[in-house]
Assembly symmetry: C2
Homo-oligomer: 372 residues x 2
């Protein structure tokens, strides 16, 4: 295996910024671009590790905020860390916990020291500092940890956002200082909302630090998708090409196809599993809402080109029935299907980049002609 946290670019597309690469972690080599299913509480909702392995998932994301509150990082550490606790042998990424504190309206007080918040589980108060976030992620033992940053509201005044960026940079330094695990990569995060000047400034500041990977945070938080794509397009070039670029919390299949073209390597999102639990599934010919009566007598699989368990074994008619009858099996099967769709899409993207035809791939996909 190559050196830990080394990132090798195997193919650089000519007409777009898309690239294929390999990022080395203590639990395996990640082939990029990669989509990381979200296992908020140490479990991808309704999908077991065996199914994640079968579909080719490489990295699972877990949320530090949730695991810190329940069952507690010390419980997981006593069980030998999150890999063992969650029975996931592949790579794990943990976020810093900051995004949930800011987005779940749990925020109580923000100071230079850190952020005080109230638990959604039992109402207790907690202080999350850069040092504490790194310490909790150390206990969880993820392969990739994220710095704690300040997430200003999307509509905050420019001066407030600017001050938040400066504080985020100071917190990034405190995270680097506190970080000790040699088997864990610590990624920096670039904020700056939809402002090209702020994004560039912060990207340059964060990229100047010795982070083995760099993330773009604070997008896909309610802005129109076009604005998000634009922000990715003007931010990614300021993140050095020789380190992996991770776009946090994104996105739809279209988001992935577009942002990979801007040079993004890593994604995570709850969309495929959340949609699945609501009976919305992805196919090569578009999204289907299984609640629609037209599927009542449809004997076809969700997607004839898909090889997942749901498509191998079950008809749309049956899956629609499970959705309508509120059966747990609907969530299980549709989640397996949607995540498999994302994995298949990412594999097709990697193939297209390797063949030097990502531009065509993008054009076909965005014109509704599906993929591979």
């Amino acid at each position: 295996m190559a050196e830990l946290f080394s990132f090798a670019i195997d193919h650089q597309d000519k007409t777009t910024r898309a690239r294929c690469g390999r990022f080395e972690t203590a639990h395996g080599t990640i082939r990029t671009p990669v989509f990381m299913p979200v296992g908020t509480q140490g479990a991808v909702k309704a999908v077991l590790p065996r199914d994640l392995s079968e579909m080719g998932a490489q990295v699972i994301l877990a949320n530090t905020y949730h695991l810190y509150l329940r069952p507690g990082a010390e419980v997981i550490e006593r069980q030998g860390g999150l890999h063992r606790f969650a029975a996931w042998p592949g790579t794990l990424l943990t976020d810093s916990g900051g995004f949930q504190v800011f987005s779940l309206k749990a925020l109580s007080e923000l100071t230079e020291e850190g952020v005080r918040f109230q638990s959604h589980v039992d109402g207790s108060y907690h202080l999350l500092t850069p040092e504490r976030s790194v310490e909790v992620q150390r206990a969880l033992g993820s392969d990739i940890a994220m710095v704690l940053d300040v997430c200003p509201a999307a509509d905050a005044p420019r001066e407030e956002v600017s001050a938040a960026l400066e504080r985020s940079t100071r917190w990034a330094d405190r995270c680097l200082e506190a970080h000790t695990r040699s088997d864990q990569a610590l990624f920096g995060i670039v904020q700056g909302g939809l402002d090209p000047v702020l994004r560039r400034r912060h990207a340059e500041e964060i990229a100047a630090r010795p982070f083995p990977g760099l993330a773009i945070g604070g997008l896909s938080v309610g802005e129109p998708p076009e604005k998000m794509w634009e922000a990715v397009a003007f931010t990614a070039p300021h993140l050095p090409a020789e380190r992996p670029r991770y776009l946090m919390g994104v996105g739809t299949p279209e988001d992935l196809v577009r942002c990979i073209g801007h040079g993004i390597d890593m994604f995570d999102c709850v969309i495929p599993t959340r949609n699945a639990r609501r009976g919305t599934v992805y196919t090569r010919s578009g999204k289907l809402n299984l609640r629609n009566a037209r599927f009542r007598d449809d004997p076809a699989p969700l997607d004839p080109a898909c090889g997942c368990l749901a498509c191998r074994e079950h008809s749309r008619a049956y899956l629609r029935h499970l959705v309508m009858a509120h059966e747990i099996g609907a969530g299980i099967l549709c989640s397996i299907h949607n995540l498999t769709f994302y994995m298949d899409l990412i594999r097709a993207i990697r193939d297209a980049i390797e063949l030097g035809r990502y531009g065509e791939f993008q054009a076909d996909f965005l014109a509704g002609r599906g993929f591979g």
Copy 2:
């Protein structure tokens, strides 16, 4: 394969009435005693067909009442029947729909013709007659269908129960008359509550009809378990030994161990899956409630002697976390475990009967010494 619906007794225990046998259906030979997981709406809750196959489930029960209302028997028939619709290649048993009409308080009017009820799905009114129940089960295409019977309240006066039995016998004849599928066995049902005289009378009436199997209904509806065991003990001897005996809606592991000793061959019950979804799991050393704080740091599998996916891959500490965090995975893994426990228990019971030591097995199990 032997003749359809033939029942061969391979071993008859000497000290108890327990026996091992084989019942032939169009979708395979059922080895008895057998426990049938319940798939009310055409799906065992949280457990996929591949997991049912892996644990050795032979028969799945589906509820005619639920499937008739949603998605509708005609939808399932158009998909080629319930086996294909639900992707279950093994044996299927459907009940008549009557029990739900009576027990879900959906009952609107009971006449000689049938029972009028209101749908719990959309409030619409429906008439269920013996002929209609058989017709719906014909459309579903189950391997074993059940007659429609009258289920009087457990505390109904004796005369009312007696009248209900007489009507049930007339309905049984109408079901036999209406039944046409040569690949589907129609089982009779014996009612009579906790009254030995009524049970005997009805058993003799129903056993006089050409049903290839006979069920005991109307038990485990709130009476103390000792009363239920007693009723099974005095009813089973009036069901001819050469036909399989099915105790409907029963029960706990102890119920199975006791009632098999009285000569029962078939069981179905929601207890293992319902308990699983509440975080209660069965082990060879007793029932565990995973909500109990003592499991927080317990690295052991649920049951060290169990080979199910949950026990192979996960610790009690992790499963407790999933239960406390309301993760769907808790219901999936605990359901797989509890059903596997039931399948293992039944296999151990069959082995003990074959070895001529079921008396010992019962004594050990009931003394809390678990099993094999």
